[in-house]
């Protein structure tokens, strides 16, 4: 069996259900692979891990992947299980926000750690400054981990994932009609989320390519299985969560939402989505948004997915 190490971008949760399902259901084994899945966390940059040789393949958002590429870690997208993105901004209507024009003067929670690029691109296109709350600017805070800032009233808008924090907001008793939701994709600042990335130089090795082909094939099989059997997938994720902190209820919710994002993808990257991501990133290059400064080249390949889907 060939060994493959996969570094996730975040902790074990249904966001990565496909991989856990593939492992648990023996899809990897069928491909003669022995896959180790390493959970991530806020302190882990998968790009750094793969550069140091700690993983063969990582999941990350394309913005971070392209940024790493510019900084000398030549990552290549080999598959894109997430067709659409789940990143959105939720604001409280009670804070007086209905449309983006209402933002100035408010506090907005943003995820940093490589996730901040679409936000800055969006603000740049709206002409809203991000240096403090006044008539033409917003005050940005680095939002950590959870949906707390909105629930606790520390921010008027926060970043959420449809499949995670949004659910936590609703759980906390804030109803959907108390909220305004801005979806980055719908606003044209979409950015490809969880994709699979490897180091460019490794792809030159046919043995490695072959491994990746099998890996992607099995992973996609896992994803499709998870979409069809959300309850079972959630349970598998729960079984793989070593912290023992996850609840089945929340993972089932998450699986349901994640399935909506993976639904349209067979793993093949849609170049149009790639173009939109690059456009978003390039649209507001600044000190706060140094993701990429020039059009990347060779940042993706269809070779693996083509081979895998044959």
């Amino acid at each position: 069996q060939d060994e493959v190490t996969l570094q996730l971008k975040w902790v074990t949760q249904a966001q990565f259900a496909g991989y856990y399902v593939a492992k648990d259901k023996g899809f990897y084994e069928e491909e003669n692979l022995d896959v180790t899945i390493k959970p991530g966390g806020p302190d882990i940059a998968p790009e750094q891990v793969i550069a140091a040789g700690g993983a063969d393949v990582i999941t990350t958002w394309m913005a971070a992947g392209l940024a790493a590429r510019e900084r000398g870690v030549p990552l290549v997208n080999i598959a894109q299980p997430f067709k659409t993105g789940g990143l959105q901004v939720n604001c409280l209507k009670s804070a007086g926000i209905e449309t983006p024009e209402d933002f100035p003067g408010h506090i907005m929670g943003v995820w940093f750690y490589g996730n901040e690029y679409p936000f800055y691109a969006w603000m740049a296109s709206l002409g809203i400054e991000t240096d403090g709350a006044d008539e033409n600017g917003v005050s940005v805070i680095k939002q950590a981990f959870s949906a707390d800032p909105l629930i606790q009233g520390q921010a008027d808008c926060i970043s959420t994932m449809t499949y995670n924090e949004y659910g936590q907001v609703l759980d906390a008793g804030i109803t959907e009609d108390e909220l305004v939701t801005f979806n980055y994709l719908e606003m044209g600042f979409g950015m490809l989320e969880d994709g699979l990335y490897v180091l460019e130089e490794n792809l030159e090795d046919p043995e490695f390519r072959d491994k990746m082909v099998r890996f992607v094939r099995a992973s996609m099989k896992g994803w499709k299985y998870a979409e069809e059997n959300p309850a079972e997938a959630a349970q598998i994720v729960l079984d793989n969560d070593e912290t023992g902190a996850q609840t089945l209820e929340h993972q089932e919710y998450m699986m349901g939402e994640v399935a909506k994002l993976t639904e349209g993808s067979d793993g093949t990257l849609d170049p149009a989505d790639y173009e939109q991501t690059v456009k978003t990133l390039l649209s507001a290059v600044s000190a706060e948004n140094p993701a990429i400064t020039k059009e990347p080249e060779g940042a993706w390949t269809h070779d693996i997915t083509d081979e895998a889907l044959k």
Binding site: A52, G54, F145, S146, Q168, T243, A245
Partner: protein, 305 residues
Amino acid sequence: MRTILPVAVVVAAIVAFWYLAAIPMNIHFAVTSAQRAGAEVTPESGAERRNMGAIALAARNPAQWTDSWTQAKPRLPVPHQVVAELWRTTALQHPASKQSLVYHGWVTLSATVVGFAIGTGLGILLAIGIVHSRAMDMSVMPWAIASQTIPILAIAPMIIVVLNSIGVQGLIPKAIISAYLSFFPVVVGMVKGLRSPDAMQFDLLKTYNASRSETFWKLRLPASAPYLFASLKVGIAASLVGAIVGELPTGASRGLGARLLTGSYYGQTVQIWSALFATAILAAALVAIVAGIERATLKRMGLAT
């Protein structure tokens, strides 16, 4: 015995204050959920409540006070919730289950102990070097102090990644971070201890024409024992902190640190607090064990009654 009553009084005061403080802390959510369940609350508008002070809101809605002690995800969980969670995740779980704090505590403890051993060993060796070599004394000491001003949480991920890349994973990276935090108190205490004998005690050995190693074994080392133990108590607590910090970037999957972190991703405050208390209890136990060894050793050495 003399301490039990005062401690009990202080703890009782803290617990009472805690329950009181939980009311304003949790009152917003308590009132909102009560309203959703159909209760009469003042003021009725959610927006108005949001802009209102917690204490004022609590004063206007005394009926919701008890609700603020029973929430699933309170801002401030109350003592009985924390105790119940601790009980649920220790006594009521199989110790090897990942739901069990015993299991996570064990994961953290093993890294702590290994890190403590490395840190103590390194600290003692450094101290021996510093005491015996002027060059080392002058060169190393300022940098040892400087090393402690580096935020370990910032470099922990890099340490993990670098060690990972050379194939070291699992317990050892965590233990190294833990050692990084614990070596310093040991160096400081041990240097002090190895230098604690007075000039006369050294001169005595000189009159016997004792060698450096004899001086070390027969004078410096025994004389340093009280200092060493004092630092070990600081060191083991630091080791525990190090192990927890080291758990955050190792994929945050197992251990008390991981529990703390995942608890905060999902706003599970009760889980955070119980992990916090589990950590403090573990720290207290570790310090108590070192203190016990200290007492026994010093007694055997005739340095304590």
